[in-house]
Amino acid sequence: MISTLLDIRRIIAGLLGVYGVILLVAGIVGSSESKNKAAGVNINLWAGIVLLLMATFFLVWALTRPLMDELDEAEAEGERPETAPPEEPR
């Protein structure tokens, strides 16, 4: 449980996701002054979208390869060398 919470990819996804939502909303409801301040670019909106994409990337990575699988793989990797078990005859 703790180690799942401590998966850094989930923490990054959470933080960037929250920031993304905040900026996206600020970009949509903000004053026209704030939408044009950045050389005419609505930077809150665009940065919000990019942050949400980054968050999605980390979340997908964390979900498709959970920490436990990675740990198992790392252990398997450590044991694999030299003495691979002989293949079972079919």
Binding site: I2, S3, L5, L6, I8, I11, I12, G14, L15, L16, V18, Y19, I22, L23, A26, G27, G30, E33, S34, K35, K37, A38, A39, G40, V41, I43, N44, W46, A47, V50, L51, M54, E70, A74, G78, P81
Partner: protein
């Protein structure tokens, strides 16, 4: 420095960051069972985490603000601090030195010196590193207080104490693991914020070609767009250093000294889960390092061409160090502004945390365990490490004000490095490649090198000798320190008893503890040699583009 109109929205974004880093500290606490867990994350982390932490530990706000200042003052030539002043050394650390560091199972950089040379060199290095580290931590802390007080109108003392308290809390709780995790988080926040700022700034000045046209009209002129123009001996270039000083001073001595022997960096690699991951740590860090100049040099140049009187006027907003804050005030609306301020705060805190987590490890392992109490249990050393974290932060706060007297904060940091890191690299490299180097050669060389750097600085600041610029003086100081260390190490070694060859197993060239086949079984993207070739090729190509 411009004062921002920060709104509640910006403060919410800053507060979310503080809560996150503290939360990581609380979670990481549950992982700590042994002293190795506290000081080296139990040597368990995957390469991508240690690699990003490796680069983030270096991506402090001093670096960001200082390099943007250099970008405005010296132009594109600032890339030398990256492609020449970092990349080769990072590759060398990963390929050549890491097998000795990780393979010999040392827990700190000074510990290598103890095994290779003996207690004298070790004690000298452990003490000087501990002092330098808290001084640099103090510089970061002071700069953080200054920036926050100027940008947000906070009291400088309150800003220092608040950020020190946050760093203190998460390191005391989670040790190196929380420092590293927060560095990785910080990396993404910084890249997102600076990436947005650079994009907007570039759009405003008409893209790369628009920026280039305007830089040609600026005080930097055409030379501001080239890395190598005027670098011939006696030539005239914005940095004021010829290619000898730049290549040997920055590219070799300062850079190799910093990247390969600075424990605040190497510690990240030592926390990797195996030797392959440790070797890949600086190599993975090198990829972002190649492109960070985009994020700092461009804001410097844009500030130069858009802010009236930049670099010449006396107003806060016209100072080189304020290039990035000036653009933030100019372009970023509330919301994005909060994220950018968060990125600066995060990078300051990461700089302090990297130094404090290196400090507590060296003091605990290399001073306390080796010379005062070597027989205690894990819990005792974890307890001691936590106490030393508090002590380190307190000293950092106390010394923060040394930085006040210096105009360009980056030069101050370079100065500290030339005292402590530059000679160190000579001692390491000779010890690594020359079996004949002796116990007394090691310590005599270190003392001579440190004195050499100190004397060069003294003579330069008194005006007895002169160099092209402050930066050139740092480069030459480093060269002198390295030369003095190398000569004294060799001479004293030849006059004293060599070490027994059995004692050098795993510590010198040709005797590394490595499995020569281990890397060949891996896919190409996990093989250090392949990564190194790609990185060096990219660095060469980038240098040619900006020649």
């Amino acid at each position: 420095m411009p004062t921002f109109d920060a709104s509640a929205l910006d403060y919410v974004i800053i507060a979310i960051y503080f809560v996150t880093v503290l939360g990581v500290g609380f979670l990481a606490r549950s992982l700590i069972k042994t002293d190795l867990d506290f000081f080296l994350s139990g040597r368990s982390l995957p390469a991508w985490i240690t690699g990003l932490a490796f680069i983030a530990a270096n991506l402090g706000a001093l670096e960001i603000l200082g390099m943007a200042a250099n970008g405005a003052q010296y132009g594109v030539a600032t890339v030398h601090f990256y492609w020449l002043g970092a990349i080769p050394a990072m590759v060398f650390l990963g390929l050549v030195m890491m097998p000795f560091y990780y393979g010999s199972k040392i827990r700190s950089v000074p510990e290598y010196l103890r095994r290779r040379y003996g207690n004298e060199a070790h004690l000298f290095n452990a003490l000087s590193f501990a002092v330098a580290t808290v001084l640099i931590g103090g510089v970061n802390l002071f700069a953080l207080g200054l920036v926050l007080s100027l940008m947000l109108g906070w009291s400088i003392n309150a800003a220092i104490l608040l950020s020190a308290a946050i760093v203190l809390t998460y390191i005391v709780l989670g040790g190196l693991t929380s420092a590293i995790y927060n560095e990785v988080i910080q990396f993404f926040v910084i890249v997102a914020a600076l990436g947005a700022l650079v994009t907007v700034a570039l759009i405003d000045v008409g893209g790369f070609s628009g920026l280039a046209d305007q830089v040609k009209q600026s005080p930097l002129k055409e030379a501001g767009l080239h890395a190598w123009e005027g670098m011939g001996i006696g030539g005239d270039n914005p940095i004021g250093a010829d290619w000898v000083a730049t290549v040997f001073g920055l590219g070799f001595v300062l850079s190799f000294g910093y990247w390969t022997t600075n424990f605040a960096e190497v510690q990240r690699a030592l926390s990797a889960k195996d030797q392959n991951a440790a070797q890949r740590t600086p190599l993975i860090g090198a990829f972002p390092k190649l492109f960070i100049p985009l994020l700092v040099v461009i804001p410097g140049l844009v500030a130069l061409v858009t802010v009236k009187g930049f670099g010449t006027g006396s107003a806060d907003i016209q100072q080189y160090n304020n290039a990035i804050p000036a653009l933030m005030a100019e372009y970023l609306p509330n919301g994005m502004l909060g994220l950018a301020v968060t990125a600066l705060i995060a990078s300051f805190m990461a700089g302090v945390a990297a130094n404090v987590s290196a400090f507590n490890t060296v003091v605990t392992y290399d001073l306390y365990q080796d010379y005062i109490r070597g027989d205690a249990g894990d819990r005792h050393y974890i307890w001691f490490g936590r106490i030393m974290t508090v002590v380190g932060i307190l000293i950092s706060i106390g010394t923060a004000f040394i930085a006040k007297g210096y105009e360009n904060i980056m030069n101050y940091v370079q100065l500290l490095f030339s005292y402590f890191n530059a000679p160190l690299f000579a001692t390491f490299i000779i010890g690594l490649f020359w079996k004949r180097a002796t116990r007394w050669g090691g310590v005599a060389g270190l003392v001579a090198g440190t004195l050499g750097a100190f004397l060069t600085h003294l003579l330069y600041s008194k005006g007895t000798i002169s160099f092209g610029s402050d930066i050139a003086a740092d480069f030459w100081g480093a060269i002198v320190a390295f030369g003095a260390d190398a000569i004294v190490t060799v001479v004293v070694s030849l006059a004293t008893q060599p070490r027994r060859i059995e004692d050098l197993q795993g510590l010198v060239w040709g005797m590394a503890e490595v499995d020569p086949d281990a890397d060949l079984k891996r896919p190409w993207w996990q093989r250090p040699v392949v990564l190194a070739v790609i990185i060096l090729a990219l660095a060469v190509i980038l240098n040619i583009i900006f020649i």
